[in-house]
Symmetry: C2
């Protein structure tokens, strides 16, 4: 089934599969030691990592990369230390492998157990963020998996140095270094090969822009966990307390505007429009937000720009917010159905029946009443780490922790039983 | 995202989505009543169903369909009654929707619940088996989903009559009949449209031949649960008790040779070859099995035919069995890694350490010690019904019951909390 994969990539993935067998059988203590060794080695190789990073930065500067990309790419000693600390934090999480998820005994005495097992080979395609290289590797190894990486080409030298450090730690721990593979040197062909490597890659997790994720989801023949894009709504219901409405909308938009759980559209029920729109908008504007309003919003907010049809489908990722007046909760839910990316939706209301109706009827990974959409986060949920936020319905939905990097296996123990 | 879907199919799927919102909110009693109504209506429309089936049979006879296909296609009054009974059995299963799977309270007082919710629209592509039309519909509705069906064209008239009966029952129960959709009239274009309907189909479950499943898995852009193909192995370890080895191998091969959990290859550790191969083979041959053996098996079993390289990768689905002598357990596990479809693998041994090693190291949906592979079955596992047997690692692995037709949703209930 993997005949379409470039031979060199197939060979690397087979190497990852061999290593995965060993890594999958490591016990908790061995995995903790392995990750601790990786953190130590990253720290020890700080000079080499920073040197490699300087090469990426120089190439980027010559190509005129944006200030944002340059900042995400840049590693200094403090940032390298933070990478090592992140690995130590993953080491401290409970081992997700071996959990008994179901147990039953058949009438004939066969004992069944459903246990959590590693996937095998976890692949990731992501952008030029060196921290993802380390994060995904730590999460994959902690959950007993090998990993195959394809990072953004702008970070290729940095990723190479990080991977070299991590592989050294595997060797030092007596673990097959084939457990960490990269296809960065193969450019887009490497990404394409990962997407087509049925039978060699067990699950592929894209991380990055909506466009990257859409490409991976559409082109992959391996199982994908879709993460990310968030056109997130907050509904201000007729009974929404002003203080909650104002605090939550401002928090959800401005606390970190560039992330997927930031709100993009506020829908205000008409009967609350005069009461809520002016003070909520004032607070937003004071925080530097540009409001893209429909006509009814613009009547009440002189500073609002006119919302276009595109605004409703846009993940601004900036201090821009779309705002619309709706007839009632029905129309709010209908708007969400049309434009939601099924990430996070929240209602602000003092009416319990409306809150419960919203929670029941809205289809998203996380549906909230009276809380900031910024809480959709593995750290906030208490998972200790986050693989990503799944916006698909298969396997995992919402923030994913280590357990979401495991599959299951049924074990059956008998004494000669046959089926009647 | 669904622009590639033929407009008429997209319209049917949007109709299914609308109905899914209603079906997803039905409580347990309403779903039981709905399924009871479907069973009653199938029974009441027995004459129309048999008439439609006669048309399919006549067309099939004219086209010279095989006896096996004709038998799977044929419905008489008793078989229609069995279809209705199968729906009643699904009605009796516990409601999988609304289960609280996780619950946590954040330090700031936000209460989180992870609850089981319907997928929305479940699609299935399958072969000319009218019972699948009824089974999948009952399972999907019982778990709160709408369903979109594409059955084999040889059963098109029968499926039409069954779907008409089931939709009548929806209307009688006040449920939107758009909850059952078929694209049978569109031939292969219908199947292709289902596979590409991202955003309209939440999960696609293919049921049928290995080739059908491979096509669906490779061509789909919607999430797929891969079911089925089973190149199933039994290893006879050095210490395998003869009686267990003989009974389990004969049971696993002959009790129902045409199904995916039947054994296809027996691997015998060399040190047990003289002791086990002759009596196990005698019992198999007495049961009508043709043994495809390697040279060492042929030495011991004069009636064995020579195994070809293809035999090891073949799901015979007949009274044929591949048999090979291996050096030791290492080689047995290596053979399984190479040829397994990760469905079910079993070892027969009196050595607990070898049993546990096999259970830990073999990567398959179900790994057994000292039990017949025929136990890999939703009914045998006590699920009460079976959606299929997943051979993938994402979302569900092994026999799937009703809970596997649900996704999850996080509910967050707060009182104005914002993120610090």
């Amino acid at each position: 089934m993997s005949t379409a994969v470039a031979p060199d990539v197939a060979e690397r993935l087979r190497s990852a599969q061999r290593a995965a067998r060993q890594i999958g059988l490591l016990d908790d203590a061995a995995k903790v030691a392995l990750l601790t060794g990786i953190a130590d080695e990253i720290l020890a190789q700080t000079p080499a990592i920073i040197e490699a990073n300087a090469a990426d930065l120089a190439r980027g500067d010559a190509e005129g990369i944006s200030a944002g990309l340059r900042d995400r790419l840049l590693l200094d000693a403090a940032r390298v230390a933070a990478l090592a600390d992140a690995v130590r934090a993953v080491a401290e999480l409970p081992d997700p492998v071996g959990r008994v998820l179901d147990e039953r005994e058949l009438a004939n005495g066969v004992r069944l157990q459903k246990v959590a097992v590693p996937f095998g080979v976890v692949a990731s395609i992501y952008e030029a963020r060196p921290n993802v290289t380390v994060d995904i590797t730590a999460l994959a190894l902690r959950s007993g998996n090998a990993v195959a990486l394809r990072g953004g080409s702008a970070a290729q030298s940095t990723n190479g140095a990080l991977i070299a450090a991590m592989r050294s730690a595997l060797v030092a721990a007596g673990v097959d270094p084939g457990g960490i593979q990269s296809v960065d040197d193969l450019g887009r062909d490497g990404a394409r090969a990962l997407m087509r490597a049925r039978g060699l890659v067990d699950v592929l997790v894209p991380r990055g822009s909506a466009q990257l994720i859409e490409t991976v989801v559409t082109e992959s023949t391996v199982p994908v966990i879709e993460t990310g894009a968030g056109v997130v709504h907050i509904v201000l219901d007729e009974s929404a307390p002003l203080e909650w409405a104002r605090d939550i909308v401002v928090n959800a938009k401005t606390q970190r505007p560039s992330v997927c759980n930031a709100v993009e559209t506020v829908l205000v029920v008409r009967s609350a429009a005069d009461r809520l729109i002016p003070p909520v908008s004032d607070a937003l504007i004071a925080a530097g937000v540009t409001i893209h309003g429909d006509a009814e919003v613009q009547q009440r907010v002189p500073a609002a720009v006119a919302a276009t049809d595109d605004d409703w489908a846009t993940e601004h990722m900036s201090l821009d917010l779309s705002m619309r007046v709706v007839d009632d909760l029905d129309e709010a839910i209908e708007h969400i159905r049309r434009y939601s990316t099924m990430h996070t939706e929240s209602i602000i209301t003092a009416d319990d029946a409306n809150a419960e109706r919203f929670l029941a009827e809205v289809d998203a990974a996380v549906v909230m009443a009276n809380a900031s959409t910024r809480f959709t986060d593995g750290g906030e949920f208490g998972f200790g780490a986050e693989v990503g936020i799944s916006t698909q319905k298969l396997h995992a939905r919402g923030p994913m922790g280590l357990p979401e990097l495991t599959s299951t296996k049924w074990l059956a123990r008998g004494a000669g039983q046959t089926r009647a």
